[in-house]
C-alpha cells in the first residue's frame, strides 16, 4: 500500500522596495528579521538552520552533482525556524517560507495561509525599520513578466521502493495538465519572441519557464520533474518528491486541490495502478500549448499516437482516482480530505467544461481572466496595455487593501481560527510538532534546527543532536506529554535518552 503522503509547500515571494534602496537580498533579510524581532522570542538569527544534512545536488537517478554545483544556499543569509515548524529564510533574492510537514492537503492550505499572514505581518514590521514613506511589497506570484521566475514548490513523501522512472513517466501527464484546474493565470507570455498579441493571457505563471522533461536544475533549464534526491528523513526508506512545476495560488481551494489531487495520483503510482497509457509524446511542448490556450480546446499528442485535451486527461485521471478510492481507499492522503478533494476536483472540471466563469470563485486563472477581460472591455485596453499587466501583478499583492485576489470573492477551505493558530503553533500530526513545541518551550536551548534534527545546547555538556528521521514520529500523540512533563530541555533529553 502507498505510504502516507506527508506533504508541504515552499513559496518564494516576489519582493519590491518603494522609497528606499531596492536591493532584494537586503530587503528580504530586513523583512524576515523585522518579523522575528517583532513577533518571536527568538533573538534574531539565534536559532540557525543546520545544513549538516542538506544535499541538494543528489540526483534521484543515482548520481551526485554536489562537487560540480555551487552551494545553492548561501549560509550567511537569514534563515530562521519558526515555532509553527516552518522555515523562513532568504533564498536567492526572495523571502521564502516552507510550511512545516503536514499530514494532508487541508493542513497544507492552513499553513500556507498562515505563511501569507506571516509575510503580511513582516511587511508591517519592516515599515518601522525603513525611512518614512518607504515600504516593502511582497507578491505571492511566480514571475515578473520580464522573464524572471521564482518558485512555489510542493513536497510529497514517497517510498524508496517505488522506481523513480515510474514516478517520472506517470506523474508527468498530471503535471502538464493540472494547470487547467490550478493555474494562477498570467497576462502575456515570456517565451522569447512571443508577443502579447500572440498570447494575451495564459493559464500558468510558470509554464513558459520549463525546458526539460526531467532533471536536477531548479533555476535554469527547469525540468517538469525535478530529480533532487534530498529526502530530509531516512533515505533508505523514503524519497521526497520535490515538485517545482506549480504556480503559487491565491485561491485556497486551488492549493487544496493542487496538493490533494497530486498526492492521490502519487499514491496511485506507488500502488502501481495508474498505467502508462497517458504518457505524452512531448511534455515540454504540451505544457506550453496547454497554458497558452484558455479555451481548453487544444489537444496534445500522447506517445501512443492518440491526441487528448488537457481536460480529457484530467477527467481520465479523476476517473482512475475514483476507482482507486474504491479499490484501495484514500488512507494515504487522509480518507476524509481525499474524498473531499475528489469531489472538488470534479466540480472544477464540470464547471470548466460547461461555464468556466462558474468556477471563478475557486480557479485562480478564471478569476484573474474575468478581471482582466472585464477591465479591458470597459476601458478599451488592448493586449500589451500596462494596466492589464498591473492587474495581473496586483492580483497577487500581499497588502490586504491592494490585493485583487482578496476582492474577487474566492471561496475558502481553511478554518480562520486554525490559520491564526498555525502562525505560531505546529501541526500535531507530524514531526513538525516536536520541532515547533521544543522551539516554543526552550528557544534559548536550541542552537540549530533543520527538517530532520534539532541541536540542543544545555550548558556544560557537548551539543546534543536529536535526530528526527521519521516524518510521522514526534507527533502530539507521541511527545505532547513528554514535552509537557519536562521542565527543562536537559530533562527532555534525559527522557529521550539522547
Amino acid at each position: 500500500m502507498a505510504i502516507p503522503k506527508v506533504c508541504g509547500i515552499e513559496t518564494e515571494y516576489g519582493i519590491l522596495v518603494r522609497g528606499a534602496d531596492n536591493n532584494p537580498v537586503t530587503a528580504s533579510s530586513l523583512l524576515i528579521n523585522s518579523y522575528l524581532a517583532a513577533h518571536t522570542r527568538q533573538r534574531v538569527s539565534r536559532i540557525g538552520w543546520d545544513f549538516e544534512d542538506e544535499r541538494p545536488g543528489n540526483d534521484a537517478r543515482g548520481f551526485s552533482l554536489d562537487d560540480a554545483l555551487a552551494p545553492e544556499i548561501e549560509t550567511h543569509l537569514v534563515n530562521a525556524v519558526l515555532t509553527n515548524g516552518a522555515r523562513y529564510y532568504v533564498d536567492h533574492a526572495h523571502p521564502e517560507i516552507s510550511t512545516p510537514e503536514c499530514r494532508d492537503a487541508l493542513e497544507v492550505v492552513t499553513f500556507d495561509r498562515a505563511a501569507e499572514e506571516i509575510v503580511r505581518m513582516s511587511m508591517v514590521a519592516a515599515r518601522q525599520m525603513l525611512p518614512d514613506g518607504a515600504e516593502i511589497l511582497c507578491h505571492k506570484n511566480n514571475s515578473d513578466g520580464k522573464g524572471n521566475s521564482y518558485g512555489c514548490h510542493e513536497n510529497y513523501l514517497m517510498s524508496r521502493e517505488t522506481p523513480f522512472g515510474r514516478i517520472v513517466a506517470q506523474i508527468t501527464p498530471h503535471f502538464v495538465t493540472r494547470q487547467v484546474v490550478v493555474g494562477a493565470g498570467k497576462v502575456g507570455c515570456e517565451l522569447p519572441g512571443a508577443s502579447a498579441d500572440d498570447v494575451p493571457f495564459q493559464l500558468s505563471q510558470r509554464a513558459d519557464f520549463f525546458e526539460e522533461e526531467v532533471g536536477l536544475e531548479t533555476t535554469l533549464k527547469r525540468p517538469i520533474v525535478n530529480t533532487r534526491d534530498e529526502p530530509h528523513c531516512d533515505a533508505s526508506k523514503y524519497r521526497r518528491l520535490h515538485v517545482i512545476v506549480g504556480d503559487a495560488n491565491m485561491s485556497e481551494v486551488a492549493t487544496y486541490v493542487k496538493v490533494g489531487a497530486t498526492a492521490i495520483v502519487l499514491a496511485m503510482i506507488e500502488d502501481d495502478v495508474l498505467g502508462d497509457d497517458l504518457v505524452l509524446a512531448n511534455p515540454v511542448g504540451a505544457i506550453r500549448a496547454i497554458s497558452h490556450d484558455p479555451t481548453l480546446q487544444r489537444s496534445v499528442a500522447l506517445r501512443s499516437g492518440a491526441r487528448m485535451t488537457a481536460m480529457e486527461i484530467q477527467w481520465s485521471l479523476l476517473e482512475r482516482a475514483r476507482k482507486y478510492e474504491r479499490s484501495h481507499g484514500l488512507e494515504a492522503v487522509g480518507d476524509e480530505v481525499g474524498a473531499d478533494v475528489l469531489r472538488r476536483w470534479e466540480e472544477i472540471l464540470t464547471g470548466l467544461e460547461h461555464d468556466p466563469d462558474s468556477v471563478a470563485d475557486v480557479v485562480d486563472w478564471v478569476a484573474k481572466r474575468r478581471l482582466v477581460e472585464g477591465f479591458a472591455a470597459r476601458h478599451g485596453a488592448r493586449p500589451g496595455d500596462a494596466r492589464l499587466k498591473a492587474l495581473d501583478l496586483q492580483y497577487h499583492d500581499m497588502r490586504p487593501e491592494r490585493s485583487l485576489a482578496a476582492k474577487v470573492g474566492l471561496r475558502t477551505v481553511a478554518d480562520p481560527d486554525a490559520v491564526r493558530q498555525a502562525i505560531t503553533d505546529p501541526p500535531t500530526t507530524t514531526r513538525a510538532y516536536f520541532r515547533g513545541r521544543c522551539l516554543q518551550k526552550w528557544p534559548t536551548d536550541i542552537v540549530a534546527a533543520n527538517w530532520d534534527s534539532l541541536v540542543f545546547d544545555v550548558g556544560r555538556d557537548p551539543l546534543r543532536r536529536v535526530p528526527m528521521m521519521e516524518p510521522l514520529r514526534g507527533t502530539a500523540d507521541h511527545v505532547a506529554s513528554l514535552i509537557a512533563d519536562s521542565d527543562t530541555a536537559a530533562e527532555l533529553l534525559a527522557r529521550l535518552g539522547a
Binding site: 524572471n148 521564482y150 517545482i244 480530505v337 477591465f375 487593501e401 485583487l404 474577487v408 477551505v413
Partner: protein
C-alpha cells in the same frame, strides 16, 4: 470539510453566504459573480496602482528557483 466552506467577504461588503456544498456550479453563481465583478470594476480605479506603466516597469525580480 463541508461545513468549513465559506464565502469570503468581498470588498463590496456583501453579507456572507453559505455556499451549498456538493451542488454543481450553477448559472446563478455565474450571475452573482458577474454582478460582483461589475462592482469590483467600479471601484478598481481606487485600488489599482496609480501609474500602472511605472509600476509594471519597476516590477523586476531576480530569478529564483
Amino acid at each position: 470539510m463541508a461545513e468549513r466552506t465559506q464565502k469570503q467577504k468581498t470588498s463590496t461588503s456583501r453579507t456572507e453566504d453559505e455556499v451549498v456544498d456538493g451542488a454543481p456550479a450553477t448559472t446563478a453563481t455565474g450571475e452573482k459573480l458577474k454582478a460582483e465583478l461589475d462592482d469590483l470594476l467600479d471601484e478598481i480605479d481606487d485600488v489599482l496602482e496609480t501609474n500602472a506603466e511605472d509600476f509594471v516597469k519597476s516590477y523586476v525580480q531576480k530569478g529564483g528557483q
